[in-house]
């Protein structure tokens, strides 16, 4: 696939620009743009066209939606041409003119399934990639595996990846490590579990502690019992100590009571009390009566000393009324003055009104309200009539002006030309436009087809033949070919079978021969006779010996013979043993010999079989040769060299496809011709029609002419419409004119009628005839105010007279009241009233004092009476008591009373004492207590001693109990300590968290370590299988890039690693580290090119390869060499080199053949005309440049409401960090942006 054209519809600062990348078809396209020209933008647009535009891209600022729009024209030998534009991810096809959305798989097909990531990694090489790749050469220490795999994989540092994985794995786990996360977490888990186990309270431990607590509690309970008993006894002793003295005192009191009773009569305590009380009451009443009598005498004296002014008191009501009237009198005097001032003012106003109307004060001219209203209405109507008159005159003037203006406008509109014939022709030609548009594509398709036909014919060996000849060729039928293929396959199968059979025979013969030769190689067979004779001799020897022994004839001879025999026998034994062994071997041999014979027979059979097979092979070969002859004959007729059938079947299929292409070509060519003629005919017709309307036809195709015709028709139609509109408006205005004039006249008549009425109305009011409406309205107001003014004057006069009357009445009342009691009753009334008020107050105070004293006297009289009654009552009471007790009159009352009370006192004390004894007994009856005291029989001292002993015992028990309580507390504390300690469950929970952490780390480790291991394995395997071809190709490229300074790349083993070495022309071998920076760049580029070529070979569809300023560090000669290499790569796929070095363009032009180079120049940016949408400096078509990053920064800051940090600006504007420093520096220097703060604290906002 190739990108023939890149359309920057709205991308960055570009608007409607296009880059023509169609040249060369095979070679290198250089896109040159000086700094700031928009090279980076164009490169981004290139990617955006192929893979979609990110919605977050900042390149869309020139477009209303903010999303950039870009398009392209792609050409694929398999898929044809595709024109499209895209905004965002979706692409719209433009080549068919329908603007349908492209299904994603269409573009993916053109890209051969290559994703954006894959493309960037493999097929896009930038300057930064070159730098990092060059560094990777050092990092990888020239290790071939990484370099070969890395070159195939594209960008990215394998060494870096491996290092990251290794470091991570090392942090997580090592077999014998102690500080790695997995180990640390496992240890923490175990520690916590140990703690938890220790923390657990075993049931028996808990029970032991609980038992100790229970024992301590029992001990406490026992001690508490002892203490309680001791305290009870102590308490009893203490009670007895109290009871013993009380019992003694009781005896004494009983004796005293007996003595009193013996002294004389005794009465009850209650009677004695009452008698004493009655006597005391009698004495008290006497004393009270004397006191009251003294108070009565004193009151009489005080009453006679008080004197009262009765005259004044008699007039008290009159004086109070005068005092109340003082305020009213004072107010009336003040009101009188005010009313007199108001009267003066009202009289003055009345005089003014009379004067205004020219009347005398007593002139009562009659003017009614009807007349006044009539004047008012006429005055109002006058104003309305005047306004109506002015409006009617203005309307008339405006209408006349309008008529004049429309007349002028009608004169200015031209008469339109006749476009009838033009419309007809335009309608006929419009459908032809799409045909005309498709002519270019059809032409291109024909060209592609021709090229395809040509190349296919070449591939089929029919290069020199015309399409007619190719179509006329007699090609064997497909059935013949498959028959031939079948025949050959059958022959091959038979041949293979024969081969197999022969091979099998050969193997069998070889095996049999080997067996035979093995047998033959063994030792020879021993002599059977020799063996037999040896056995006989041995047996004879034994026989002789046996006989000699049996017969007893073993004598000297015999012995000698024996000895001989022994010797003889020994020799024979040896021979026999040897022979026996030989016989065993012989037996084996016999079998071998049998086998050998059968092997030889088998060999014979095999060799016969082999000759049969040879015969069959000969006949097979003859048959094959005859078949081949026929085959060749078959193809000779077609004039084509015959190859084996499979290839010829493929040839035939391809030939059929070629015929299809030829037919398609012919059809397309015919259609193209027909379309061309049709378009030309319509072109001429439209041209003539345009001339007919008086216009000169524009140069250009049908599309232009139809557009021009449409413009002419639209213009004529517009003119006609304008004239019609103006004429209609003029007619309407003229029709309105008479009614406007009539309106003016009617207003005039109405004004004249009003004047007559006005004169009459003025006369009715007695006003002069020339009075204008405003003056007449003033007079009307005066007439209406006159009666009110007169009423006001009269009102004030009446109120003044009333006030004067009230004041005189008050003065008279004062004078009457003061007569006879005041020295000067005629003085000023207020003064007199004040004197009267003071006199009345003194008289009232004296009266009150006398009344109080009289009341007190009445009360004292009542008290005196009560005292007399009380005294009588007391006397009667004492007498009654005596008679009640039966006391004779001579018995001294006080003696009886005293004796009785003493006895009562003794009995009371006795009762209290017995109560105390009962209380001491705490629940016992008195008798029981007295008996206990008697029974105890202890003295007070003895009791004290016993109590002291008990106190000691109690104290001892208390100390013991305290100790027992302490022990109990300790035991309980121990139990609580066990239960209150930190829960084992919590510790176990923590242990589980540690374990979970350890598992998580271990999983991470497994993932990471296995990833590192797998990557190393893949690198090694990949290097093993790809090293040869990749190194050879990279070496070749490297040799060219270095102009032969290096001859090849070789691999050598260093330790366990295979390393890449560059071989100098003189044979020196250099590692990557020993190369200069430039040579290392070239080495990396060579590896990448080899990798790209390798990957291209596996793609279904080739993709363009983009290099961006990769040659900046190459000197001129090596640049020229590199350009040659890139152009060569361009034979396999489209290659585009972006650069901002003009010398590279010159170098390319000087070194590459013209048809191998295409140059696209982006002109420098014109900063003064950077308004969006301006066409600008792109020298071939269009385009202007701006600093993308700066624009994006400004845009973000314009939209922000407060100063922003660097990070905020970068993320909001989707700005690449690499362009930040330059952009912000220039913006701050120019004052467009202001910076507050430094470094991380820096914030930016727009400058003033």
């Amino acid at each position: 696939m190739r990108v023939e054209r890149l359309d920057l519809v709205a991308y960055g600062h570009y608007r409607g620009a296009s880059l023509d990348l169609s040249r060369p078809q095979r070679g290198l396209t250089v896109v040159y743009g000086p700094n700031e020209a928009g090279k980076s933008t164009a490169r981004r647009a290139f990617l955006a066209a192929l893979f979609g535009v990110s919605a977050k891209s900042s390149d869309g600022y020139a477009y209303p939606s903010g999303v950039p729009k870009v398009g392209a024209s792609l050409v694929s030998s398999r898929r044809g041409r595709l024109d499209f534009v895209r905004q965002g991810a979706a692409a719209v096809a433009t080549s068919d003119g329908k603007g349908a959305t492209l299904p994603a798989q269409v573009l993916e097909g053109f890209l051969g399934g290559v994703s954006r990531e894959l493309y960037l990694r493999l097929f896009s090489v930038g300057h930064d990639d070159l730098r990092s790749g060059s560094e990777e050469l050092l990092d990888a220490d020239g290790e071939i595996g990484r370099l070969v795999f890395g070159a195939s994989l594209g960008a990215g540092s394998l060494t870096g990846v491996l290092r990251r994985l290794d470091e991570r794995a090392d942090r997580l786990y090592k077999d014998r490590g102690h500080t790695q996360r997995v180990t640390v977490a496992i240890k923490a888990h175990r520690d916590k579990m140990d703690q938890a186990r220790k923390q657990r309270v075993k049931a028996r431990d808990w029970e032991a502690k609980r038992k100790a607590v229970l024992e301590a509690e029992e001990s406490v309970k026992g001690l508490q019992g002892l203490l309680r008993d001791a305290r009870v006894e102590l308490s009893r002793m203490r009670r007895m100590s109290e009871a013993v003295p009380l019992a003694a005192r009781r005896v004494e009191l009983l004796a005293r009571a007996a003595v009193i009773e013996a002294q004389g009569p005794v009465v009850s305590r209650e009677w004695a009390g009452r008698a004493r009380e009655a006597q005391e009451r009698h004495d008290r009443a006497g004393r009270e009566r004397d006191s009251v009598l003294r108070r009565k005498v004193a009151l009489d004296g005080q009453i006679s000393a008080v004197s009262v002014a009765d005259e004044v008191m008699a007039r008290a009501a009159l004086i109070d009324g005068l005092v109340k009237g003082v305020d009213r009198y004072d107010k009336d005097r003040s009101d009188l003055a005010d009313r007199r001032v108001q009267l003066d003012r009202a009289a003055s106003q009345l005089s003014q009104l009379l004067e205004q109307l020219g009347l005398l004060s007593d002139d009562n001219r009659l003017v009614d309200e009807v007349q006044l209203a009539n004047v008012e209405e006429l005055a109002q109507r006058h104003a309305a009539l005047n306004a109506g008159m002015a409006a009617a005159e203005e309307e008339l003037g405006r209408l006349e002006e309008q008529i004049e203006a429309l007349g002028l406008r009608l004169g200015e509109v031209d008469a339109p030309p006749d476009v009838t014939s033009l419309s007809r022709v335009e309608a006929l030609a419009a459908p032809e436009m799409s045909r005309e548009a498709s002519l270019v594509a059809t032409r291109e398709a024909i060209r592609v087809l021709e090229s395809d036909v040509h190349s296919r014919a070449g591939r089929l060996g029919l290069a020199g033949r015309s399409t007619a000849e190719i179509e006329a060729m007699v090609i064997p039928a497909a059935g013949d070919l498959s028959d031939e293929q079948g025949r050959r396959q059958e022959l091959a199968a038979r041949r293979a079978q024969l081969d197999q059979e022969q091979e099998r025979l050969k193997v069998e013969m070889a095996r049999v021969e080997r067996l035979a030769s093995d047998i033959l190689a063994k030792r020879g067979v021993p002599d059977a006779d020799l063996l037999r004779s040896a056995r006989d001799r041995r047996d004879a020897g034994w026989r002789i010996a046996r006989q000699a022994i049996e017969t007893g004839r073993l004598d000297v001879d015999g012995a000698a013979l024996w000895a001989q025999g022994v010797e003889f026998l020994a020799g024979y034994e040896e021979a026999v043993a040897e022979a026996d062994a030989a016989a065993d071997e012989r037996f084996v041999h016999a079998a071998d010999i049998t086998s050998l014979e059968s092997h030889r027979a088998r060999l014979q059979e095999l060799s016969e079989d082999m000759s049969v097979l040879s015969g069959r092979r000969d006949s097979l070969e003859a048959e094959a040769a005859a078949g081949d002859e026929l085959w060749r004959g078959l193809w000779e007729r077609a004039g084509v060299e015959a190859h084996e059938p499979a290839r010829m079947i493929a040839w035939r299929e391809e030939h059929q496809e070629l015929l299809g292409l030829i037919r398609e070509l012919a059809a397309k060519t015919a259609a193209y011709r027909s379309d061309t003629e049709s378009v030309a005919a319509h072109l001429a017709a439209v041209r003539a029609a345009i001339v007919g309307t008086g216009n000169a036809p524009d140069p250009g195709g049908l599309q232009h002419l139809v557009a021009q015709a449409r413009a002419i028709i639209a213009d004529a139609s517009a003119k006609t419409q304008t004239r019609r509109d103006v004429e209609a408006e003029l007619g309407k205005a003229r029709l309105t004119l008479p009614s406007r004039r009539n309106a003016v006249e009617a207003q005039r008549k109405a004004l004249s009628g009003w004047e007559t009425l006005w004169a009459e109305a003025l006369a009715a009011l007695g006003l002069p005839a020339m009075t204008q409406p405003p003056a007449a309205l003033t007079a009307v107001h005066a007439y209406r105010a006159l009666p009110g003014a007169r009423r006001e004057v009269r009102g004030f006069e009446a109120r003044i007279a009333g006030l004067e009357r009230d004041l005189a009445n008050f003065a008279q009342r004062v004078k009457d009241a003061a007569a006879g009691i005041v020295d000067r009753p005629d003085a000023e009334p207020l003064e007199v009233v004040e004197g009267l008020r003071a006199m009345l107050a003194v008289a009232r105070e004296a009266t009150t004092r006398r009344e109080t004293l009289v009341c007190s006297l009445v009360e004292v009289d009542e008290q005196l009476r009560q005292c007399d009654e009380e005294l009588d009552e007391a006397h009667r009471n004492v007498s009654s008591l005596r008679s009640e007790a039966g006391l004779a009159a001579d018995v001294e009352l006080n003696g009886v009373v005293g004796r009785s009370l003493d006895l009562a006192d003794v009995r009371g004390r006795l009762e209290a004492l017995e109560g105390d004894l009962v209380a001491i007994g705490s629940g016992q009856a008195l008798g029981e207590v007295l008996r206990e005291v008697d029974a105890l029989g202890m003295t007070a001292d003895e009791l004290a001693a016993a109590s002291a002993a008990l106190v000691d015992e109690v104290e001892r028990h208390e100390v013991d109990l305290a100790h027992a309580n302490v022990t109990l507390g300790q035991r309980r504390g121990e139990l609580e300590a066990v239960t209150d300690e930190r829960s084992a469950a919590d510790l176990e929970q923590e242990a589980h968290q540690e374990l979970a952490s350890a598992v998580a780390h271990a999983s991470d480790y497994a993932r990471t370590a296995v990833a590192a291991r797998m990557l190393r394995k893949v690198i090694a395997d990949y290097a093993d299988s790809h090293r040869g071809p990749m190194l050879a190709r990279a070496g070749d490229v490297f040799c060219r890039l270095t102009e032969g300074a290096f001859s090849e790349l070789v691999a050598d083993v260093f330790g366990e690693k295979q390393k890449l070495l560059a071989k100098r022309r003189n044979g020196d071998l250099l590692t990557a580290g020993q190369l200069s920076d430039g040579a290392r760049d070239q080495l990396y580029l060579a590896l990448r090119i080899a990798g790209i070529e390798y990957q291209l070979g596996h793609l279904e569809e080739t993709v363009p390869i983009v290099f961006d300023d990769v040659l900046v560090n190459f000197d001129d000669d090596r640049s020229a060499a590199a350009l040659g290499v890139l152009a060569e790569l361009g034979r396999q796929s489209q290659v585009v080199l972006f650069t901002h070095h003009e010398t590279l363009v010159d170098t390319a032009a000087a070194t590459l053949p013209e048809d191998h180079l295409g140059v696209v120049r982006l002109a420098a940016r014109d900063h003064d005309s950077e308004e969006l949408g301006n066409s600008g400096g792109y020298d071939q078509r269009a385009g202007s440049e701006t600093d993308d990053a700066s624009q994006a920064v400004l845009r973000v800051l314009r939209e922000a409401s407060h100063p922003l940090s660097k990070a905020e600006i970068l993320s909001s504007g989707d700005i690449d960090e690499s362009s930040w420093a330059r952009a912000i520096r220039s913006l701050v220097e120019s004052g467009e942006v202001r910076q507050d703060g430094q470094k991380r604290g820096a914030r930016y906002h727009l400058g003033s």
């Binding site: 399934g113 994703s115 954006r116 990531e117 894959l118 960037l120 990694r121 930038g126 795999f149 195939s152 994989l153 594209g154 960008a155 990215g156 990251r164 994985l165 786990y173 997995v182 496992i186 888990h189 175990r190 923390q199 657990r200 309270v201 075993k202 049931a203 808990w206 066990v978 239960t979 829960s983 084992a984 469950a985 919590d986 929970q989 242990a991 589980h992 968290q993 374990l995 979970a996 952490s997 598992v999 998580a1000 271990a1002 999983s1003 480790y1005 497994a1006 993932r1007 990471t1008 296995v1010 990833a1011 291991r1013 797998m1014 990557l1015 893949v1018 395997d1021 990949y1022 990957q1095 596996h1098 793609l1099 279904e1100």
Partner: protein, 420 residues
Amino acid sequence: MGTLKFVHCADIHLDSPMRGLARYDGAPVEQLRGATRRAFERLVGLAIDEGVAFVVIAGDLYDGDRDDYHTAMFLQRQLRALQEAGIAVAVVYGNHDAANEITKRLALPANTYAFPSDLPATHTLQDVGVALHGRSYPTRAVSEDLSARYPQPVPGLLNVGVLHTSVDGRPGHDPYAPCTIDGLANRGYQYWALGHVHKRESYQRHGVRIVFPGNLQGRDVGESGSKGASLVEYDDSGIHSVEHRDLHAVRWDRVEVHLEEPATPDDALEAVLSRLQALQADHEAELHAVRVVLAAGPALSRNWLRDADRFEAQLRADAAAGSDRVWLERIELRPTAVRSGEVPDEALSALREALDAVRSGTSQQLRAEITGLLGRLRSRFGPDAGQVAQLGGEILVEDNLSALLDEVESLLVAELDGGA
């Protein structure tokens, strides 16, 4: 007798730890402690608040041989609280209790009745009209059908069978005291209070209610969702209603977030946090222990895996900032990556082929090397090695080698296929 209530719970596993929660900064450590105890306290609270007549515990009060008397004392306190509220308690001991020392030694308060382990018995609560029938486990493993010898129902009372059983088998549970639902239904009882199966199940056969209330508190992500007990209403006529009540302190959940391409790690963080908020709004718990599963397309997976530590730390920190009630158990990335052969990339294809060779066993030596590594790693866990897979280390087990290799592939593709 009017309407009365009782609470049926089982599988308390007091003081059993929550499993699989790795520590991290900001994790709400305190809320995790004593979760099973707090759940039991809630149970006691529920019983008292609802004024129930009695509480039935259908086995596994304790957690195996974890015989810590702290546990016993806690239990006693709780049982006494029920006693003070006048609530009776009946317990059968389950397989975990049978192995526990506390079971033998703990003196239960007067309100608590433990069924004997030698024979089935009937415990009558006459004043609330109930006869409880049950039998405790004599040993850890009981293979006979205990219910077969349960006593005949007592006429005129509500008959409740209390049994610790796996019925006719449940995955993940030992097959103890086997029986059948129909067999239980035909015993003549009105209610079967079962325990042992940790997931809530309820059956109704011929008017008989047979209920597993599930465990009181989930202990790992396998026991997710609401956990608690059943509140049962009954009267003279039988069972009225059975209602589940949530009592868990810690709620386990699995949150799966699918992210369509194109999405950034920030999108993923936002989506997960939003789901976590929704989870907390929808379900009450002192602490949510959550496993997050991120199903992500190739680009997001690549970005995430390249810096997984940072993103995971970020997510945990954001979750902690948003709420002190969330503990992210694990963040699992599930890439929906493009498989080998679909991308025309020779080098990556080679990588995938190598991984496939290990998967299929073709690459025997490497496979042995990796399984050796996993074996060594597991052996470091000593006696805990057997738990590794359950605690989130599934990929450390040889049976899951393929899963490990999938993760390795994702990681390597993320590292290598980043583009320029």
